[in-house]
Amino acid sequence: MSPRRADRQRRGDDLAAQITPYALWRDRRQFLQASGAAAARLAGAAALSAVMASPSRAVGATKDALTPVRPLTARPSRWVSMEKQTRWEDATTYNNFYEFGTQKSDPARNAPGRLKMDPWRLVVDGLVARPQTFGVDDLLKLSPLEERVYRLRCVEGWSMVIPWIGYSLSALIQRVQPLGSAKYVAFTTLADSQQMPGLRSDVLDWPYHEGLRLDEANHALTLLCFGAYGQTLLAQNGGPVRLVVPWKYGFKSAKSLVRISFVENQPECSWNVSAPQEYGFYSNVNPGVAHRRWSQATERRIGDDSLFAPRRPTLMFNGYAEAVEGLYAGMDLRRFY
């Protein structure tokens, strides 16, 4: 056992692991077997109805099917939503990660076993005193890991409650020491067509890029994220390292990061470039500013018990207004949507 792992286990009186006691190590063989079973189940559903078929609710078994993951212990933090957490099965099979396909079931189908998460390099550069390239293990040592239970609001009108693991991005920002000229932070996702079948489509201009104002990036809520549900991030959820910005629509939280650059001017963001009238640079969750194609006033909470459970009202800044509204004092949020 490596000293680091031993250390992690020693540290781990494992609050997170108690919450989510998933099996620890999953080898490739299990992955292949279980994905075969999952495929068979899907085929059954497809036979029943090709059109209505989507991954079965009974995906529990496929948790063995996912790329090797390891437990990640984290201390509790003050940022813990008390709402019912989204089921792991739902949070890991229903999300957008266009690099692996445009259907929300595509990432879970295509990312595990394709996305090579080890070794991984994250370049941090631009207007900083100490540009640096980090491996994931370097990053994990940089600051104590916290479990943050955040609401996640997708721009499409659905939401989840997810126990992420990571630390404030500000810890990394401090480490690289931005220059006075740095005003924005640009994030870049991996774009490798060998690993990511979705790159064949020209839905977005690859690589996926996102951006925050420096003060947004420095906000304590902005999370540099390495895990969820007590374990390292799965490929489909943006492993091994991603961003989580809980008061903005989900697409601002870029996945599988390979580069973080400090820049002077507002960086281009993929969705903003592809449909500027629909997705603004800020993209703060705002029930008062409708998307062109649908209202943002309400949301469908994934995992609500009944099929006929009503939608929930969407909260300003996704319920984090108290913490973040100071960032936007005096700004017209209709204009800067």
Binding site: A45, S49, M52, S54, R57, S201, A275, I302, L307
Partner: protein
């Protein structure tokens, strides 16, 4: 279908085939499986897709009749009514799951969002065809019936526009292109009746048109 023909085996086969997505939904909803983490969205979109597929199928029925024989057309009214039924459920699911039946919200949606208004116009037209699909209405409308039912061209186009506008939000046009291609292909083949009527189409064609003299081949 425009005459009094008793349902035959083919009619029943097509009828049951068209009812399958409806049964699948009932089984899935009651069994709580197969609809994914967002079942409400799966239901809305699933029925939208079933409606579009069936609509194109009905649209293409005169072609099937050319190749497979006129008795296919006997099932056209039933197929059309299934299409309307699925479209209506698609709309009802939208009312329930997108707006919790708050009509004020639906009303503002209709005016603010072109993809909703376009879809709704298509639904109204489809409803008009459904209520005039019986023999009484055919008799009453006479020649106008045929003109009215040519609205299927418009309905298909509106459905594709509806789907396109919906997909525009995510820049994801793959499926739209497939359906639009199918539509263009079908429309083109239907517009070329001569090609099909020449030698490659022997006696069965004559039999078909003799059996269904009022079948619009438009």
């Amino acid at each position: 279908m425009h005459r009094d023909s008793a349902p035959n085996g083919l009619w029943w086969a097509l009828f049951l085939w068209a009812s399958l997505p409806g049964w699948a939904l009932v089984v899935q909803a009651m069994g709580g499986f197969g609809l994914g983490p967002n079942p409400q969205e799966s239901i809305i979109r699933g029925f939208g897709q079933v409606s579009l597929v069936l609509l194109l199928w009905v649209y293409a029925m005169p072609l099937w009749a050319r190749w497979a024989g006129g008795q296919v057309l006997a099932a056209r009214r039933a197929m059309g009514l299934w299409t309307f039924a699925y479209t209506a459920v698609h709309f009802l699911a939208y009312l329930q799951f997108e707006h919790d039946r708050v009509l004020a919200a639906v009303w503002s949606d209709i005016w603010q969002r072109p993809f909703v208004s376009v879809g709704l116009i298509g639904l109204f037209l489809l409803a008009a065809l459904a209520v005039t699909s019986n023999r009484l209405a055919m008799r009453q409308l006479g020649a106008r019936w045929k003109r009215l039912h040519r609205a299927i061209h418009l309905i298909v186009i509106l459905s594709l526009v509806h789907f396109f506008l919906h997909k525009m939000g995510k820049n994801d046009y793959g499926e739209v292109v497939v359906y639009a291609g199918l539509f263009l292909g079908i429309a083109l083949l239907k517009a070329l009746p001569m090609a099909a009527k020449l030698p490659s189409r022997p006696s069965s064609a004559g039999a078909a048109s003799a059996r269904f003299p009022h079948t619009p081949e438009s």
